[in-house]
Symmetry: C2
Subunit: 306 residues, 2 copies
């Protein structure tokens, strides 16, 4: 099994692969786009898959957009997409709190507008959005008045993250019954030109370090985004593939869920990273296949349609 | 050896212990005070040790005060102390950059006024102090203009810690030749009444997670504060003891430096924590002795002086 892993997908193998697949799950950042630039050929691939009657879903750890905002960005970059095809951590965290945790109470939210909107749509009361600058002295920080209805702390991407937010999270989390949820733990957000900015994982580690607790993580490599797709839309695992640029999130999640995995080299992880996991026996982070770019599948797709 | 560790220091054992010691190294937070309240009896002990011709030094991971500010606080709470007896991480980080790293360039400092003052006194140019709120978009954050003279990032306690500071640190640390120093990694700062606020360790973990690098740590359990005492003042390790409230910092440092160690139970670690380390064989974090409070040594001290 190990020997057949991490095969380059091209030629006849690509054609057989596409014929064996009904449902394709795509990560977004580093797979379909970098920052605000589409990966060349990626829109043609997505739109072509749909014309070939494949189902396409977008599974993203990034919590800065609602389902509608993602559909709008996908459309702007040339991808045909509907909000109901998007399973991002802003939406899925709201679903988790409403349907799985059945939260009775408010959320203290370290996060941005998209999380706030998805929480609002799911009927989850929350507070904490926007700037929260420090004032006063250490003694004041330790005795900040919390809202006694807060029963969960959620950490997502928040460009207004501050010492004061970290402190409020600690004060809430000292109650062991307070839930502690992270949208995702990606360490960096890759942008155009190889640049990067700190990801949500940095904020999660800060809060975990203060609270002496580990957060429960909604995003990949957890299977929860996949579970949401299965629940809402159904799928046949034997005819489904996860396409992503990160071995420790996208590929690991695919392995956990028992579906095939495809690494694309336009984002975070390299082929050397995959070989290194293969050599060390960490096979759940080794993809079944890899391509240099998702556009590499275009020739096989156009042949399949002829 | 293990069986004789973690003995309660009282009665005759206290008297023999004090007679065997010339130099006493004290941690401060949780040992001599909590927040702005002295531990009852602690000032009498420090002042009594000095009258008995013991040398006393203060070794603190807390980077929010200069040597002078610590001497002032010690004095205000009733302790006799001179700035030259204080070896805090604000001062010792400046000494490290000047004398060990021999830094040629500027420091990007995540830290407060005390670090800035000690850096200034040591002639180390630095920038970054004060509030730094986020503006613009992700693309702007990834392309923030750095100062090309910055050759080190230092992370200490900073109540103005923000996403923008985290981002600036990441942009500097992407250059592998940029030094990465942390004053300390304490996860919480204990205050009066059992309350706590997030410690420098939370900020360090956030920056480490973004940078994909580990910081070099100046504070305990590193031996650098001890090395500074030895270099400036000299001491006989066989007649020196480290007194602290944290097993993973104070007691570990004492063990590393080959001096005796005394845990006091007025702060972070409990006797159960020490027994647990003893049972698991992590003996470098098991103290030689413990007391409920440093004030427990007062009777033996007054007898010694008679």
């Amino acid at each position: 099994m190990a020997a057949s892993k991490c095969s380059r997908l091209n030629g006849e193998l690509s054609r057989r692969f596409l014929a064996s697949v009904d449902t394709v799950l795509f990560d977004c950042d580093g797979v379909l786009w970098r920052g605000d630039e589409a990966i060349p050929g990626a829109p043609d691939l997505i739109n072509g898959l749909k014309r070939a009657n494949k189902r396409v879903f977008f599974l993203t750890n990034n919590s800065t957009k609602t389902r509608s905002m993602y559909a709008e960005k996908l459309g702007r970059l040339g991808f045909k997409a509907e909000p109901e095809e998007v399973f991002g951590t802003a939406y899925c965290t709201a679903i988790y709190l409403r349907d799985i945790a059945r939260l009775k109470g408010k959320v203290y939210l370290i996060g941005g507008r998209a999380l706030s909107e998805e929480f609002g749509a799911a009927g989850i009361p929350h507070l904490g959005c926007g700037a929260d600058h420090v004032t006063g002295t250490q003694k004041d920080w330790a005795s900040v008045q919390g809202d006694s209805d807060v029963k969960a702390v959620v950490v997502g991407f928040d460009e207004h993250f501050s010492y004061m937010k970290l402190n409020r999270a600690l004060q809430y989390l000292q109650d062991p019954s307070c839930l502690f949820i992270a949208t995702n733990t990606d360490t960096r957000l890759p942008l155009e030109g190889g640049r990067a900015i700190p990801g949500t994982g940095c904020l999660v580690r800060a809060v975990e370090t203060a609270a002496h607790r580990k957060a429960q993580v909604i995003g990949k490599p957890s299977s929860f985004l996949y579970d949401c797709v299965v629940k809402d839309c159904g799928l046949d695992p034997a005819r489904t593939v996860m396409v992503g640029d990160r071995l420790d999130t996208d590929i690991q999640m695919g392995s956990t869920c028992g579906i095939r995995t495809l690494l694309t080299l336009t984002g975070f992880s390299s082929l050397e990273d995959a070989k290194s996991y293969q050599d060390s026996g960490a096979l759940s982070m080794v993809p079944d296949y890899y391509v240099n770019s998702v556009a590499d599948l275009l020739p096989a797709l156009s042949e399949e349609r002829q």
